[in-house]
Amino acid sequence: MTFYLSGIGSFPKLWKSNQVWQGPGHSYLCLFLTDFCGIRNQQRWFSLKAMSPQNTKATDLLIAKARYLKKDDSSNKQVSSDSSHFFLAGAAKKRSQMNPQSKDHALPPVKNTIELPTKPLNSKEWDKLKEDFKGKVNFESWISSQMAHCHSSVDVAKSLLAWVAAKNNGIVGYDLLVKYLHLSVFHKQTSEVIDVYEIMKARYKNLEPGAYTLLIRGLIHSDRWREALLLLEDIKKVMTPSRKNYNDCIQGALLHQDVNIAWNLYQELLAHDLIPMLETLKAFFDFGKDIKEDDYSNKLLDILLYLRNNHLYPGESFAHSIKTWFESGQCSACGKNIESINLSPEEYDFLKGKIMRDVIDGGDQYKKTTPWELKRFKNFVKSCPPFDIVIDGLNVAKMFPKARESQVLLQLVSQLAKQNLRLLVLGRKHMLKKSPRWRKDEMEMVREQASCFFADNISEDDPFLLYATLHSGNHCKFVTKDLMRDHKACLSDAKTQHLFFKWQQGHQLAIKNKFPGSGITFQHILSYDTVVQTTGDSWHIPYDEDLVERYSYEVPTKWLCLHRKT
């Protein structure tokens, strides 16, 4: 029973290879479900054998094989110190930890004037406690929120309410009731939840979403779970229920074996443009273990497609659930190839148009450039044959604060030019002015080896970079360390942003040297797309590990690979 993941193909020139997964020598992550109904030892399935692609041998191989990389003694060290790829989960965290400036902002401890009682008090004791309390706010609401915060036992809270009611003709305020409800939901005291529910129904015609949410969460475990659905309807009268509300209701329905209601709620949730919680989806998979219907299976596959289309990644436990469900013999589909990072021609053209319209133009050409400059740039790009690499001159040159800008740029350009690549260097006009940082002779040599375009000093150069790269075609890469998040944000919808991110992962060369001098090396380019995918009879599902923090511009490194038994 092996579950291994090696991987990323080894090809001579990283960006020239379009057929990523076709080569015969490629073994890739496969989990052969040879014994379908065999031992379900989940621990073992998900043992540490799941390797992340970037620190396996494959990476070393890649680096060695990539021809343009100058081999040097430090390359091994580089690999180990730079095991975090730009876009891979946890990388940003690692980078920030290397930065000594980061401080952890520890919150000052909450000022606690009195100790919370640990067992029910009688009214005298409460009176005394109230006298001891010094604070501006109302004692009852303060103590109840403290109890809710510290998860005191229900009985203590109940004694508080009894005391308040005794003082107040048997009336307990709404806020105290809600906090009590919170406690009883937290401690899963269903009978208490139902009691409070009765009280609230009796006293108030409508509640507010906070209380509804708590009631729903409390009621779904009881046999009166259907009333949770009525409460959901009540919320809908005033606002869209949250995805948590839907999650609770769906969980409740599944808990009570009512699959149809659960699916209807799920459809409703999607119709509201809410992104379902991963718990919700996990619940469907968990429930699916016991159901043997094609209809249900298809719906679960739809969920997987939903994950794919929205670039969502399951968490570790959700991945377990998916795997368990597949193992249970419900899987009807499975296949072979992992998708390449390259965009399809239609997607490519679409992205190119969008970048032009939203990022460069953005409704006002004067914001980032000027119309005449844009025209000059377009003519320039048209007049040149397609480039192989587009370089963000300023970003590259500023990489090493101690070295001279023009020298760094020249080093990179000549290194790449030696490989007969057609280069484009983008910069600003001030780079041409003679200054100690920008030497004329070095810039002259740059211009000899590469085409150059210099934008106005107050124009932005990144949009030009994006456009020139996209214009040159799919083989063209760009060099910058910029994460381009601001440009991604300019794109109007999430779908285009995903496209952009995918393209960026496949075409951005980030320099990973920390010191100038030795040859400049690039981070390898991810050749595969990290997304939930299927190819007929296999599923590949990237998932988030529980202990790794992933930023929005990073992708998971762990995969769940499922093949149908043949």
Partner: protein
């Protein structure tokens, strides 16, 4: 207590489920009735026996009183129950208020409608908080006003007692007409400025970039700017350029100024500033400009964009100036101030006070005292500034020759 999981088929809601307590069973059936036919007020409550579950320390007693004490209340509420979303929203706000959330106590129909129109939950909450704060401030003002009125009455009473004792004649040179005299004098100065004053343009072409709130803030700032200008020794001649008649700006200005709008001593025009003045004498002031303002020039026409930008649209005014090929400048904030927090965009009234001060004294140190104190930690020695500037130059990505030119200029200026 253990939760019993029961398999319920779709029709199970009409069945009375099996429960352990007789009490809750009774209750359940009544609730079901209530839910299925909400029009019928629940009558079965009074027949409910109040056998509370076994208890320690008298913990559950309050529940029965809570349930029983409000039966009438419920029936009256549910009898006039209507499904109006407005009413439901009102109810929701009331419940939030009980919970101690930041929502207003009283709310008008219009405000309710605005809430319903809010696209998202958070915008609803934001608007409610805004109303809450508004209401609170109004109340506080009311209380203050009452206290003041009471104090005045007291004062007058005591004064009356005093004046009865001594009613001596006093000689005065002037009648007490200060305010009116001031107004007239300011009017004279304003008329003079209309004829001979240096123009200062407020560019009103930003209507489409702002939402309602930002627009209102802009108008408030314009009002205040105009006030500061009026009171100055040597006012500017203010132009409101690109002011569309019946546009949002225009409407709001008329609403705020009332009848005074037609008597204001300033020029409001639909024309653009490039039509009114020669292009090469216009300087557009924008914080995004690469050029730093070194001195105030008395022969130039400064343009300030009337634009409150809370949505982060950097470069909007720079784009406008670029489009018209105008010279741009920004204030030398970094040169004189140790900047701390906040954006370099100043409010319009701060701008005009700063410009007025520059016009009259020419001293940057004096003029920059109008920059809010919270935004900087103090004035910079200029030598310190140039050192910092050089350091920054080395680091900055977008160092360009323009700012460098200005650096040399300043050094020379301060060395002599």
């Amino acid at each position: 207590m253990s939760i019993s999981v029961i398999f319920l088929r779709p029709f199970a809601r009409f069945l009375v489920p099996f429960t352990l307590h007789r009490k809750s069973r009774n209750l359940y059936s009544t609730i079901l009735q209530r839910n299925m036919s909400s029009k019928i007020p629940s009558l079965s409550y009074s027949t409910k026996e109040s056998t509370s579950p076994p208890e320690q320390l008298e913990l559950d007693g309050w529940k029965t009183t809570m349930k029983s004490s409000v039966q009438e209340d419920v029936s009256t509420v549910s009898s006039n129950k209507d499904e109006d979303p407005l009413a439901a929203t009102r109810e929701l706000i009331e419940m939030w208020r009980l919970l101690g959330r930041e929502v207003p106590e009283h709310i008008t129909e219009d405000e309710l409608k605005t809430i319903m129109e809010c696209a998202s939950k958070s915008s609803k909450k934001k608007y409610l908080k805004y109303l809450y704060i508004k209401e609170k401030m109004k109340k506080a003002r009311q209380i203050k006003k009452e206290a003041k009125a009471a104090a005045r009455e007291e004062f007058i009473k005591s004064k009356l007692l005093e004046t009865t004792e001594e009613d001596k004649q006093q000689n005065f040179l002037f009648l007490r007409l200060w305010d009116r005299n001031m107004d007239i004098a300011m009017g004279w100065k304003g008329a003079q400025a209309m004829q001979f004053g240096q123009p200062l343009v407020f560019d009103m072409a930003y209507e489409d970039y702002m939402n309602r709130k930002e627009l209102q803030n802009t108008i408030s700032q314009l009002l205040e700017s105009e006030g500061w200008n009026r009171r100055n020794v040597d006012p500017f001649h203010i132009y409101f350029c690109n002011l569309k008649t019946d546009g949002a700006y225009h409407r709001e200005l008329i609403k705020r100024y009332g009848e005074k709008w037609d008597k204001l001593l300033l020029t409001a025009t639909e024309k653009s500033h490039v039509d009114l003045f020669p292009k090469d004498s216009i300087i557009y002031l924008t914080a995004d400009s690469p050029n730093v303002m070194t001195t105030f020039k008395h022969d130039k026409i400064y343009v300030v964009g009337s634009f409150v930008d809370k949505h982060m649209q950097p470069g909007t005014s720079l784009a406008k100036a670029k489009r018209l090929k105008l010279a741009t400048e920004c204030l030398p904030l970094d040169k004189y101030l140790q900047w701390d927090i906040g954006s370099k965009n100043l409010t319009l009234d701060q701008m005009i006070r700063l410009l007025l001060c520059l016009k009259n004294t020419g001293s940057w140190e004096d003029a920059l005292k109008f920059v809010p104190r919270r935004k900087h930690t103090g004035y910079l020695e200029v030598s310190q500034y140039s050192q910092e500037f050089i350091d920054r130059m080395k680091k900055a990505k977008t160092f360009n020759s323009l700012s460098k030119g200005s650096l040399h200029g300043t050094q020379k200026r301060w060395l002599k």
